[in-house]
Symmetry: C2
Subunit: 596 residues, 2 copies
């Protein structure tokens, strides 16, 4: 359709996508990022620069969206940022950014003042166009019906002679709405701003989706996403541009702040701009709102080939997500250092390694807390890991403290095991209070699922780096990280003995995880189907899992909900994490029936 | 309108509202309740009995609604319950109940199989009519857009010659939709089934709402609500019936299972039943679906005057909510007993008293954990409370254990104070593990708001009975409970010295809460405006709060979010509790600006 409407006319446009890392609530800091990266874009000769969804406020802001003072601050900061860009000589560069706004007038069933997940075009010191997200995601980790009312506009802004349509994140994922009317609007470029959290293999899904929507819209599609950690979420960036045929034109390296600059050749707009209301094919109507910033194409120039980053393999992707998640939780919460227990086992070894990669080994404090049941090799292996990485280590034997409790309480069995775990937690919490470290919790997803952890013991801490990582992947990541070091000619950070030894909590003599749990290969496959795929008992057995094991594991998982509810946040890497994704009642007598 | 349409024709109907206590996930148990209470209704001569929203599954089921096996179990259990009622001789009594269903056919934008918050009419061994909630609440504690798609029907069922329309909970609170077309449908009775959680003064709001909707619908309105605790929520019942003029006809005692039976005189249906689709005044259309169970009025009988329970005063209401919340959390999670620390202060004294009222003093285990800073009167006061109530008490001095840590860690200041709190928690957790008690946490809302608690210390436990109760109300409840006992000629359960002494955590010599916090009257008023009303800094100062205190308290509240995230659930009694109601990011650099 575009080629029919604008036969032969093309215009060049240098587009910059600012894949940056905003911080929730830091409006001034985020505005600074907009100015800094707009300057870089201007220096790179860009004709247009775009920032992610809710760039000005960070994302997701949760109930801050309901606080009037916060909404007003976002609106004021947006206007101020537009003026500041102009004051700093950047007024000629159109800037697209996400921010938090509110509904100016009331619509049927929606009060005036209701929050909007909004998008603005900033130009020449003022806001040239505004719109709001139409499709509001309310599944998985998203709760946007709680906060926002839907937008009903597709802004189309003529920049350098090209009609650029803009939309927000979920508008791309759902049929109908603003993205659905892009072709009708005759846009030459569709620009979508995003706050899309990482999960495994999402990059493939995204590329497919972006390519499909580009073909549907009949135009080039640019996708800009934030990076960074925000509580449980890690944003991976993965900003990209695809042509009208769905072919990939440019892609940014994920998990890093990047300015993706691409020279695009696009259909030139030759018809007069015309705003109008059209059917959105989802039961609503969308107003196509036309604005002109610069009607004339830029003089022809020699385009540079845009960068296309290689996709990362699965383990590299997960590892970078965990490192970024830890780094940002530490940094954005005002910590400089972390502390965790180091048992000589694989979980705490991987957590310490991730932390060292995130904030430097000199800021990673580890505590060896040997008890009467700790084996010699545990201590030796932990010490070897400390030596290899240069961590800040100390040893605090816990026998005296455990015995002080035992004299009074005479605990046995589980109570005795939990006591050791809790005494350890009291030690690292005391060191955290004394020295102001963030405590990292070392539990993995298999443990969290089955409840094989001690509340206020090994589960105690402010952040859980491997909370969404199943045990089998803990090993895989450790091997991957060692292989990376070896490939670079460095000593592997994790001693091989830690990877090879059979897993044990060492809470009683000779204890092994396999005493009470099946092999982790078997367990993790079952947990994947029950927790992440939400299959019921019959479906699990039909999928090939052992019937007795299915019943036992379902019970373990269901019973441990109260423990998970008090677990700290940790970076989500799977389609369904414990926390924002999977929300079950604690009081819950549902037992999967034994017969279909 | 009704009087014009049915001049002079009236029919009698004995309506029973079953204000019962379902358990989430216990489909069989909940079905048993339906059968038992239907039998009682039949024995009382009722012509119709109604149960609350989602009666069959309990409410809210959260992500269980997304599990196919659970949805199918609900559907099967509904059919089975209809057959069972008939098998047990109750098939002639129409039974209205809530359950979980799924969409049979796909609608635009809504997949087939999407869950429904549904309502069924059971009669003669089968399901006579079905509908689903139209207005889905997605604010406060509710997330129903996450789970359900909206219904688009108003069932009108002719029973004993009266046309009875049925709707679900939020349908009553929002304009438009099924309740809005009740008048058009010409119903003689509107029956609304509810899962409406308690909060302070909600009974007044409800009565006003029900009266207004009755006037709008031009007919009698019956409101049935569940009772019971479900994690953070407490359902208070407060089932009621109002006439077409909004006058209260019947009301059940709250917080107790009750069958509210009322003889109603209603307009007799005289026009032929007619199903049709009508505009719902909210942008949607509703199908009025007419079904006939019994077309003829019952023979005239002498009506009995229905009961109208006196509303409870504010403190009585809150106290009953807390007792029911504790009882149901204990019972529904399979515990028989609780344990908590008893310091001699007001918070733990009130928690122990609530627990004793909930499950009997013989099941309430308390631990006195004196440290070197505990005053003599603290121990004496705690012992006196134990004696008055007959609690299960023991004393575990913590000095030896604290010293075992101190020898290794040499903590000072906050670290030393937190160490004592954490050693206490290790003790009660060990006793809980040994003896299988649920641990109760004794923190109040003022403390939780400001972060004046120790993570894994005094905040450790499975349930927090006064988590949503501010400190000033803690005292008020203690005085109220004592006055109740005195009025009944019994010894007040809480020694007056515990109520009168200045509050202290006794974590260092002579420590008082007022050393670092303002008077609780001042603090709680500010917390109310910041936490519950969500006022920003400027609005708080404009409301008359001291500017310096506002800034300090905002910082305290904002910084303590990470602690609250790991706090156990506790009964919600205010319009905004910490937990399901107030959802803020932990990583949050937003600081209320100092100038408007």
């Amino acid at each position: 359709m575009i080629s029919a409407a604008y036969p032969g006319d093309v215009a060049q446009l240098r587009l910059a996508l600012a894949q940056v890392n905003p911080t929730v609530g830091d409006l001034e800091g985020n505005a600074d990022l907009i100015v800094q990266w707009s300057r870089r874009a201007a220096e790179a000769g860009a004709h247009l620069v775009a920032f992610p969804e809710m760039m000005l406020t960070g994302y997701p802001v949760e109930d801050l969206a309901l606080r009037a003072s916060f909404v007003e601050a976002s609106r004021r900061t947006l206007e101020r940022t537009a003026r500041r860009l102009a004051d700093e000589g950047l007024g000629a560069l159109p800037v697209v950014t996400g921010y938090l706004d509110r509904l100016g007038v009331s619509r049927p069933g929606q009060p005036a003042g209701a929050p909007l997940n909004a998008l603005a075009w900033l130009h020449a010191g003022r806001v040239a166009a505004r719109s709001a997200k139409h499709h509001l995601p309310n599944y998985g980790v998203f709760d946007e019906f709680r906060y926002f009312v839907r937008g009903d506009r597709l802004p189309v802004v003529r920049v350098a002679g090209v009609d650029v349509a803009t939309a927000i994140c979920e508008d791309l994922w759902q049929d109908g709405g603003p993205v659905g009317v892009t072709r009708t609007a005759g846009a030459g470029l569709l620009l979508v701003i995003n706050g899309s959290p990482y999960e495994r293999s999402k990059d493939d899904v995204r590329l497919e989706l972006v390519a499909r929507r580009a073909r549907e819209a009949g135009c080039t599609l640019a996708y800009v996403n934030m990076i960074g950690g925000q509580d449980e979420l890690v944003f991976d960036g993965d900003s990209m541009i695809v042509g009208p045929d769905g072919g990939l034109l440019a892609r940014a390296e994920p998990f890093a702040e990047r300015l993706l600059v691409a020279d695009l050749t696009l259909p030139a707009a030759t018809t007069p701009p015309r705003s109008r209301r059209v059917d959105a094919a989802d039961g609503t109507a969308i107003t196509i709102e036309h604005t002109v910033i610069s009607a004339d194409p830029v003089p022809a120039y020699e385009p540079a080939p845009p960068p296309i980053a290689e996709p990362l393999d699965d383990l590299a992707e997960v590892y970078r997500a965990l490192v970024l998640g830890v780094r940002d939780y530490v940094r954005k919460n005002g910590f400089r250092s972390v502390i965790c227990g180091l048992s000589g086992g694989i979980d705490s070894a991987l957590v310490a390694t991730i932390a060292a990669d995130a904030i430097g080994p000199e800021n990673v404090h580890v505590v060896l807390l040997p008890s009467r049941y700790s084996s010699d090799h545990s201590v030796a292996d932990a010490e070897e890991l400390v030596r290899r990485q240069g961590l800040q280590a100390r040893t605090v034997p816990i026998n005296d403290m455990v015995e002080a409790f035992e004299r009074q309480l005479k605990p046995t069995g589980l109570a005795e095991e939990n006591l050791q775990a809790r005494v350890r937690a009291v030690v690292w919490m005391a060191l955290s209070n004394q020295e102001d470290h963030l405590v990292l919790t070392t539990g993995n997803k298999s443990e969290l699922a089955t409840g094989y952890s001690t509340l206020y013991g090994d589960s105690a801490g402010g952040f859980g780096p491997i909370k969404d990582v199943m045990k089998t992947m803990v090993w895989a990541l450790a091997r991957w990280r060692n292989a990376q070091a070896e490939a670079a000619g460095r000593t592997p950070p994790i001693p091989q003995r830690i990877i090879d030894k059979p897993p044990s909590a060492e809470l009683r003599p000779g204890q092994l995880d396999t005493d009470s749990l099946p092999d982790y290969e078997v367990l993790d496959a079952l947990l994947h189907d029950y927790v992440e795929r939400d299959l019921g008992r019959d479906a699990l057995i039909a999928a090939g899992h052992d019937a007795a094991l299915v019943e036992r594991v379902i019970r373990l998982v269901d019973r441990a909900e109260y423990k998970r509810r008090q677990y700290p946040p940790g970076p989500k890497i799977t389609p369904k994490n414990f926390g924002r994704d999977r929300r079950l009642p604690i009081t819950n007598r549902w037992r999967e029936p034994s017969t279909g």
